[in-house]
Symmetry: D2
Subunit: 125 residues, 4 copies
C-alpha cells in the first residue's frame, strides 16, 4: 500500500476506510484505475475491518472474494470501505465498497462480498 | 412462492421485502430452513427489486448470485430483502439479505450479491 | 433430497454425481426447473464430494457459494456434479456443475464455486 | 501487463494461458505474489479467452469475478489460465486458474469464476 500512496483514513470497530489519490501508473489502457487496484484496496479495507474485531496479532487471510464492477474508476480519489457483516467463530464475512470522488461527487465503482479467516501467526525461530 | 406462503410485504423503487412463515416442510435434517429456500427467497427479492426500476413487462434473469451463509435459519418468520445497488445499461446489481425473526429479534442468516439481466419477453404466437 | 427423487448416482473420492428426474412440481413459471432446485442439488453434490475426503462423521457446512446460470433447466434428467478442487486445513473448495439431459444430449445449465467447512458434530445430551 | 513481464503463452479458441516470472516488487509482506496480482492475471486470461470467441475489435468488460485463494503464491513462475465455460448471447462465463511453478511442480494457488461482457468499442471522432 505504500507504493500506491494509500492511507488508512478511518478506523472504527468493524469498519475501515482507505483512501488513495488517483495514480496514472495504476491505470489500464482507457486511463481508469485498474480493476486489480480497486479490488486490492477494497480487499485490504475488508481485511483491516476484520482485524479491528479480532484479537491483537492475528493475521487475516482472504478465503475468497466476489466483486461486481459498477463503473469505470475515474476521478481524483479512490475510497475503499470495508465493513464487517458477521463475525462467526471461524470466519468473518465482510462487505466492501469502492467509490471514486470526481469533482466533489461520489461515484460507486465496485462492490465486494468477502470471507476472511483470522489466523494466529506462525512462530518461526 | 405460493407454495411457501411467501408474501411481498414491502415494495419501493429499488427495494423489496418478502416474508415467509417458518415451514417445517422446507427444513433440512437439523430443522432449519433449507439453504436453497433462503437463497430462493432472497433471489426473488433481488429480482423484484430490479423489476421495480425496469420498464413494465420486462423479465428478470438471474445471471449469477453469490451467497454467504451467516447463521442457521431458525425462527418464526423469514424476511428476504432485495435492494438495487446499481442499475447499469445492461445489468442490475443487487444486494440481498435474509433474516429470521425469533422471539421478536432479527437474526442475520444470509447475504447475497447478485447480477440481474432485464430481458424483453419473447412474443410467442 | 427424498422429496425430489434425487439419487446419489456416483461417489468417488473427491467427486460425486447426483441425478434427479425432471419434476413438474419443482418448476418456475416458464416450466423450467427452478434455479433454487438446481442450486440445491449442486450444493449437495459439492457437500458430498467434500465429505468423501473428510473424516467419517463430519458435518459439512456451506460457507458460501457462487452460481452462474448458463441455460434454462429443461430436459428429462438433471445431473449435479460436485468435485473437490482443493482441500485445505480448514476449508474445502469445490466446483459444481449442473447439466440437463434432453433427448440424450447434455446441456450445461449452471456452474458453482463453493467453500465448504467440515465441522465435528456437536454431541448433544 | 508489460510492467509485470507477463507473456501470452498460449492462445486457442476459448482458452488462454499467461505466464509471468516471479517478481519481488509484486509481493506482499510474506514474500508471496500479492493476491491482487494473481487476480489481475487470471482476470486477463479470462478476458482474452472470451475475446478469442468474440468478433474482432470487441472490448471485454469484467462484469464480476469470484476468486477462491487456495495456497500462497510462491515459486518461480505464475501461470494464469482462462477458459470459456459458456458463451451466451449477452455474456461469456469463464473459469480461471492460477498455478505457481516451484522446482518444476505445479501448485494451484487460486480459482476464478467470472462473467464477461463483450462490448462494441465506442467510436470517438
Amino acid at each position: 500500500m505504500k507504493l500506491y500512496g494509500a492511507t488508512l483514513a478511518r478506523v472504527e470497530p468493524g469498519a475501515v476506510e482507505i483512501t488513495m489519490p488517483f495514480n496514472e501508473e495504476l491505470t489500464q489502457h482507457h486511463g481508469y484505475l485498474h480493476a486489480a487496484v480497486v479490488t486490492a484496496l477494497v480487499d485490504n479495507a475488508c481485511g483491516f475491518a476484520a482485524m479491528t474485531i479480532s484479537p491483537a496479532g492475528m493475521e487475516m487471510l482472504t478465503v475468497e472474494y466476489k466483486v461486481n464492477f459498477l463503473a469505470p474508476a475515474s476521478g481524483e480519489i479512490l475510497i475503499a470501505r470495508g465493513t464487517v457483516k458477521k463475525a462467526g467463530k471461524t470466519f468473518i464475512v465482510c462487505t466492501g465498497e469502492a467509490v471514486m470522488i470526481h469533482e466533489g461527487k461520489e461515484r460507486h465503482v465496485a462492490t465486494m462480498l468477502a470471507t476472511m479467516f483470522p489466523l494466529a501467526p506462525r512462530i518461526s525461530n
